[in-house]
Amino acid sequence: MSAYEKVKLARHPKRPTSKQVIKKLFPDFIELKGDRQFKDDPSIVGGIGSIEGIPVTIIGQEKGVNTKDKIYHNFGMPHPEGYRKAIRLMLQAEKFQRPIISFIDTPGAYPGLGAEARGQAQAIANNLKVMMGLKTTIIVVVLSEGGSGGALAIGVGDLIMMFENSVYAILSPEGFASILYKDSKRAKEAAEIMKITAKDLKELGIIDEIIKEGQGLHIDPEIGISQLKMSLIDALKRLSRKPIRRKLISRYQKFRQIGLYVEGEEDESTN
């Protein structure tokens, strides 16, 4: 399957959204709202629940299921208050020593007047820094579409999983094509070169685990969700045995080592 076909699957209207997956995985899920500063941002849902008797904090970007719902959830494009809600709930998880499970599904952070006025850049940056040092387990699951810093802002963790047909990229293929090829219609071509599929990203060491979907979440979500459930339980058990100090070191190393460059002889100082 080509990368662009994966993009189409990741955006398939029948593909379950975060809320639907959360409901299946954590039947006792209680939604907790608001950033305690400005408002509740429905493009990120958060709350508490349990899986196999383990209490966890759950965060998920929500795109919505029908037109009205999509508008309510702003198509999964968070404002700063969404990121601030997420980090508030994550700090709460740290306090109660609950692991965090974070679901990514967003085209990106919302580019608008209010978002800028309330510090979109600062909100994302702050999340990255706080998540890096959070003294509890963080598992990230790329559910469908992971787009840009708006995805990464809830995507720092000890273990990054991706569904087989999800994509994760610096920008949507359309955006990428419009910047680099000056033509958003060349999105298909862009998708093939960008290395955005779970398989590519596993090979590059960006993610840790691929969750199989069977026929695909859009056809039969049960298989993929039960695969995810097994992986989550396994990971939670494994990570709970690892001391937090060691977890933080591995989390740091995981991101510290990402990057490809060449290094030659040191130049003479030019100043």
Partner: protein, 289 residues
Amino acid sequence: MNFLDKHKENLKAFSKQTEKSKMVTPVDIPDGVFVKCDRCEASLYEKVMKKNNYVCPVCQNHFRIDVNTRLKMIVDDESFKELDSSLMSTNPLSMPGYEMKILSAVNKTKRKNAFISGAAKIAGIEVAIGVLDSYFMMGSMGSVVGEKVTRLIEFSIKESLPLIIFSASGGARMQEGIFSLMQMAKTTAALNRLDDSKGLFISVLTHPTTGGVAASFASLGDINIAEKSSLIGFAGPRVIKQTIREELPKGFQTAEFQENHGQVDIVVHRQDLKKTLYNILKLHVGDRS
């Protein structure tokens, strides 16, 4: 319209005309003697501009400056010792034309990458300092910039030096895809460690600071300084305009806008930057034992 108003109108029209006529270059003037302010369109002597720290004396527009000029303005003479100068980008996605873009940036800037970092002194106080080069592919952050920023932060931790980063960037470097995105996490991870070691980070946001750089280390200073007349924000104005389909309000995403909205601590005129940095630094040195 009464007589006085009409008179004022005429005066305005007249002065506009004379302003225009001032800009007409009468005889052969060699290139580079005059520069034009892209905001108020005043024609200015390059010599005057240099003396004025490349700030338009008419409208206070701060011109874009290169890394050497920036360092000269900020650090003590002969005090800069560069680190990690040899790092160069690869082409991880095999993007057609990317190598050529890098090479032409190298030719233009005479440097191998877009982030110049090292140790230096500011009025005698030793600091770790880095400057993003907006002449090198718009100061965009790929693996090299991310690695160098991270190394500079680590250097400041190791040497217990205050950290100062001048940002000017269009954001993450698209050509390196997901690797660029992940540099946001990498650089902020290092800042998390700087916090643990109680190190000072002064982030200076200059024109323009947007995208993945604004949404990572540049927004995370203990003190965020915005240089006057800089554009600062997450999404670029063009993207926002396309999304909301209306004109952006006047002054949107300026340094002053960010100050009013609580995102930066101080807006500082270029001529006062060194003094401001020194004044902040002297309240922090000696704090770390």
